[in-house]
């Protein structure tokens, strides 16, 4: 290379490859660090454990740099720069703690409090408020602004049944506005007026319509947007926080369960970028009262067909269940037993239930719900949630997927608007012309359907096959509907989507057969609420069968007709794992003490199996069962805690 020639980018032929590892060296508060190009000063500092206070900046939103709280001094810059919007460059020297920064932070906090009502004692956000915390840490010790000259706004404006807005507490960080602009696209909350009169609000004070309002109090850094359900309910330091998974649908949103006094007070988001990306839907977030319900099955009981009902110890109930089942098997054969689990059980419970049915009792009649899945294969569960963003084209069949798993809508919005992907929403039964119009050069196609449109999704996939990668995602029903399928809680497949030969009867058929008197014993592992759709058949089935062994949480027709009833634990009371619709295996932990003194379901099932003569079963505790499950299913071993269980997909020739 001739001397004096400009450096060649990209290491062209004959040139010296540039020393470019994609990283730049910066110095922050005297400490040097190399970070990837395109890193914000804020994030580079965080990597060094240096805290820079922020209000407007939000990890899921584009920087706006309006709060000016994160200003830092950078050598060669004439003025302080916002760390939230300034990208590192080679040789940059940043100071986050010099006298200028200390002074400007004090000044900024004084400005923020000029028109703030200072009503911390009655503010729900107290104790977890960034305005309180940063004022404590960085703020001035006195207030120079006369309290009588503050601008006044509406202090308790209900925006909907869920959300309350205090316009005086608002510091105008724009997060809620950007949330509605960048995350949901619904633009329900906007900035109005200007200058010191600026406020956030809805058009003409109309109520919010969004299905995702509950995220607003969480994006708000102060006490301006609060949950009406949580108003004056608790102080954050009184809450006991448990990491959990939203029990409402199969999407598997990570959340924190905040409880006090044996009651859940709220669900709060727990960011998992691969799943919910920190956003919860209102159906899930506000399902709290259901989990605090006191209407529960609390004691084991025997309801013999002839004789007196009585409460018994769990051990006696298990022994009675074994006696009854043995009797039916001996009298009528194992095929006269039907076993139905539920999509709300943990993997550990379902793993044991499947073994109990097929290996111990010896019946092929097993399911976890009413409808059956002909031709089910791992191919319908291949696409991952985060992968949606990578698809060139995403086809959604009908509104059901997004009704069933609302947070999916936000991932689709992100794919479309942040990543520039194409999202096509078709009718559940798309017209052939619509399907034909999908022809294109998309290299990676995702197809999303609910369970009732599995076959149509397969047809669309077949249509698009051969032009690149096509992956499907089926929105399963129930928090662990996917786990139930993976674990073979189906009449036609064994664990791991291996065809069951011969296939047994599915959920609806089992109940029909029991109602007809052909199936004589039922083992029902609840919650049995999903079976209610069978209506009259369900009632006739549980009334007629000679033996009805029920493990359930909430009293119902089913528990009333159980010959043996054992209390179950709610999902927020137990330890185990559930698998979301994309196969992600996630841990659930007890956030509340169980409503019953009886042993966990895994122990009950283990004891029942032992009574029926099973050998080599794992110990009945959930941890041992989980270990056995992983040993039996390599996909689950590979998934570990938080990974996806991936199955080999047969690609049609």
């Amino acid at each position: 290379m001739a001397s004096g020639a400009p450096p060649v980018k990209g290491g062209s032929a004959g040139g010296v490859p540039p020393q470019d590892d994609g990283r730049v060296g910066v110095t922050i508060d005297g400490r040097q660090v190399r970070v990837p190009k395109g890193t914000l000063v804020l994030d580079a500092a965080a990597g060094l454990g240096i805290h820079i206070p922020i209000y407007c900046s939000h990890p899921k939103m584009e920087p706006v740099a309006v709060c000016r709280m994160c200003l830092v001094t950078i050598e060669k810059f004439p003025k302080p720069q916002p760390a939230c919007a300034t990208y590192v460059s080679e040789g940059m020297v940043v100071s986050t703690g010099d006298a200028d920064v200390v002074k400007l932070r004090e000044g900024m906090l004084e400005f923020l409090l000029v028109n703030h009502p200072l009503d911390c004692p009655v503010c729900d956000r107290g104790g977890e408020c960034d305005l309180q915390d940063f004022t404590f840490r960085y703020g001035p010790s006195i207030s120079r602004f006369p309290i009588t000259e503050k601008v006044h706004f509406n202090k308790a404006l209900p925006l909907s049944e869920h959300i309350e807005l205090d316009q005086e507490r608002c510091i105008l960080c724009w997060r809620c506005v950007r949330y509605y602009d960048e995350i949901t696209g619904e633009k329900e909350i906007v900035l109005q007026q200007r200058g010191v009169q600026t406020l956030v609000g809805t058009f003409n004070e109309q109520p919010l319509q969004s299905r995702f309002q509950g995220n607003l109090p969480e994006v708000c850094p102060v006490g301006a947007l609060t949950h009406r359900e949580y108003r004056f309910v608790a102080r954050p330091w009184e809450l006991q926080r448990t990491a959990g998974v939203c029990p409402e649908c199969s999407y598997g949103c990570n959340l924190n369960i905040d409880a006090r006094d044996f009651e859940i007070k709220r669900f709060a988001s727990r960011d998992n970028p691969l799943v919910e990306d920190m956003w919860l839907c209102d159906r899930g977030r506000y399902s709290v009262p259901r989990w605090n319900s006191t209407e529960r099955v609390r004691r084991a009981a025997l309801h013999p067909r002839h004789g007196e009902a009585r409460d018994v110890a769990t051990g006696e109930a298990i022994a009675q269940a074994a006696t009854e089942l043995r009797h039916v098997i001996e009298e009528s054969g194992p095929a006269s037993v039907g076993v139905i689990g539920s999509a709300a059980n943990t993997n550990e419970e379902l793993f044991l239930l499947e073994r109990l049915a097929r290996n111990v009792i010896g019946t092929a009649n097993i399911d976890h719900q009413l409808s059956t899945f002909a031709g089910i294969s791992a191919a319908e569960h291949e696409l991952g949630i985060a992968e949606i963003e990578e698809c060139d084209l995403i086809v959604v069949l009908g509104p059901e997927p997004e009704n069933e798993a609302p947070v999916l809508t936000l991932r689709l919005f992100k794919a479309e608007h942040k990543r520039g992907r194409t999202v096509r929403r078709l009718r559940p039964d798309p017209h052939p012309a619509e399907v034909a119009s999908l022809r294109g050069d998309a290299g990676f196609v995702g197809i999303i359907a609910d369970e009732s449109n599995r076959e149509r999704a397969a047809q669309v996939a077949a249509h698009l096959a051969g032009r690149g990668t096509v992956k499907r995602l089926t929105v399963t029903r129930g928090v662990n509907g996917r786990g139930a399928k993976d674990l073979g809680l189906l009449p036609n497949v064994l664990p791991g989507y291996v065809a069951a030969r011969p296939a047994g009867a599915g959920g609806a058929d089992i109940l029909e057969a029991a109602a007809r008197g052909e199936i004589k014993a039922l083992v029902l592992l609840g919650p049995s609420s999903a079976l209610q759709a069978a209506g009259d058949v369900l009632v006739r089935a549980v009334s007629r069968a000679a033996s009805v062994v029920v493990i359930d949480t909430v009293p119902s027709e089913v528990t009333a007709h159980a010959t043996v009833l054992i209390p179950g634990h709610a999902i927020v009371e137990k330890i185990g794992s559930v698998t979301n619709l994309e196969g992600r295996v996630q841990r659930v932990r007890p956030a509340l003490p169980p409503a019953t003194q009886t042993p966990a379901e895994t122990r009950v099932l283990t004891a029942l199996a032992a009574e029926l003569g099973a050998a080599d079963w794992p110990g009945g505790d959930p941890v041992s069962v989980n270990r056995a499950l992983r040993a039996a299913l390599p996909a689950y071993a590979a998934a570990g805690n938080g990974g996806r269980a991936l199955w080999r997909v047969q690609v049609p020739a």
Binding site: V64, V66, P80, G107, I171, G195, Q197
Partner: protein, 429 residues
């Protein structure tokens, strides 16, 4: 030196606002010759040679600004900033009132230089009559083939859209102007990216002031070198200064740059009012720092005035006599910024409100010395911390007035009334 009149030479000529009148005065000759004389690139170079600096306030070299547009990225846009709202400024209105076609010709020349096929004139809402005048002039020019497809058979297309604002000083800030023009709240954008790279509708954009663009026909006709020979090094050509306050002939006057301010005051403005004595003056507009009587000997030179601690800014000159109270004057400016703050960033939104509360207290003689100290402290907490220049400049006049007239500020503390007004009243009685 005052004999140079470029932009305003023909002002007052009958019918200059009409196409015919403008053409009679030699109008559109620059446009007729530009396509043969210059390529877009050579026109950018010619304007660079001229040394023309923006007349909107910041004084950035116009040719250099144009050269920041990335090569080959189309479409591009040129926006004329006619959102003149700086306190004390009315020279753009004067230029548009008297010669709308001169501005249109300038817009077309600038559009040719930067290859903008759709250009905009963003005019403040209060200038309704000026907007209508421009709209009519655009239609005349369109009918004459100066605007539209294949202008004068040059192959160059350019449409001009006159866009009226609706009352927001902040829209004079170039990125706020772009947001407003796109139909958003007129709030400044985060930079980078700068408008030259990502401006209107996300495309490369230049924003130029009315006077800057109105100057272009003269540079095209007579050359950059000629233009550069007028004025002084670093401040070439002429500028229109709009003068107001306690003077005999308020108005707009085109001056050769480098002329002493005294000449503008004494000869063009007819000096201070009878019985008036110059106490202070504010050059540049409401954002700029106050200057003292001794500063009238400074030349009308951007660099020289800057060295003296102020700026020629947007070409305003407000002269004050002994009856003017610097605290009252500061208060009015602070009120203006408080009213015009867009509310986007914290220090401007809350700081101007805080300033305003304190200034009113101070002007009415009710503030304590501690509150005066608070006022200057919050000014220092605002300056350099705000999202855009509005909040920063809201402190400049106050702080400069405090520097030069500290006694006057302090004498307000605890006085129970404005001491300057009280003195004026007493002298009148």
């Amino acid at each position: 030196m005052a004999e140079y009149r470029l932009l305003t030479k023909d002002f007052g000529t009958e019918g200059l606002q009409t196409l015919k009148g403008y053409e009679r005065a030699g109008g559109y000759q620059a446009l007729r010759t530009v396509f043969g004389k210059f390529t877009p690139a050579s026109l950018v170079d010619e304007v660079k040679t001229s040394g023309l600096r923006g007349r909107g306030g910041a004084g950035f070299p116009t040719g250099t600004k144009w050269s920041f547009l990335p090569q080959g990225v189309m479409p591009r846009y040129l926006c004329c900033n006619a959102d003149e709202s700086e306190p004390g400024c009315f020279k753009d209105r004067y230029l548009m009132d008297n010669s709308p076609h001169q501005l249109i010709e300038g817009v077309l020349l600038g559009s040719y230089a930067v290859q903008s096929n759709i250009s905009f004139i963003y005019i403040r809402g209060e200038y309704r009559d000026q907007r209508l005048l421009l709209e009519r002039a655009v239609e005349e020019a369109r009918a004459a083939g100066y605007i539209g497809k294949n202008i004068l058979k040059s192959g160059f297309d350019c449409d001009i859209i006159v866009h009226g604002g609706a009352g927001a000083y902040i829209c004079g800030e170039e990125t706020a102007l772009l947001d407003s023009l796109e139909g958003y709240r007129g709030q400044p954008r985060l930079k980078p990216p700068f408008p030259a790279v990502k401006g209107l509708y996300g495309k490369p954009t230049v924003v130029n002031n009315v006077e800057t663009l109105s100057t272009l026909p003269h540079i095209v006709l007579r050359g950059g070198e000629w233009f550069k020979s007028i004025g002084v090094e670093g401040s070439t050509g002429t500028r229109v200064f709009c003068c107001s306050g306690h003077i005999n002939r308020p108005g707009s006057y085109e001056m050769q740059l480098g002329t002493p301010i005294r000449e503008l005051l004494d000869e063009e403005c007819g000096g201070m009012l009878p019985g008036s004595e110059l106490k202070a003056f504010q050059p540049g507009g409401g954002s700029m720092q106050v200057l003292l009587p001794q500063h009238v000997d400074l030349p009308l030179d951007m660099n020289a005035v800057q060295k003296a601690g102020s700026s020629l800014g947007a070409g305003a000159m407000v002269f004050m006599d002994q009856t003017a109270c610097l605290v009252d004057y500061s208060m009015r400016l602070v009120d203006f910024y408080e009213h015009e703050s867009c509310g986007k960033c914290v220090p401007c939104r809350e700081g101007t409100y805080f300033q305003s509360q304190l200034m009113h207290k101070l002007e009415s003689g009710l503030a304590t010395a501690a509150e005066l100290a608070t006022l200057t402290d919050i000014c220092s907490n605002m300056d350099g911390r705000c999202f855009c220049p509005l909040g920063d400049t809201a402190t400049w006049f106050v702080m400069s007035a405090y520097k030069y007239f500290r006694d006057e500020f302090e004498s307000h503390c605890g006085a129970g009334e404005c001491p300057v007004k009280a003195r004026t009243r007493a002298q009148a009685a």
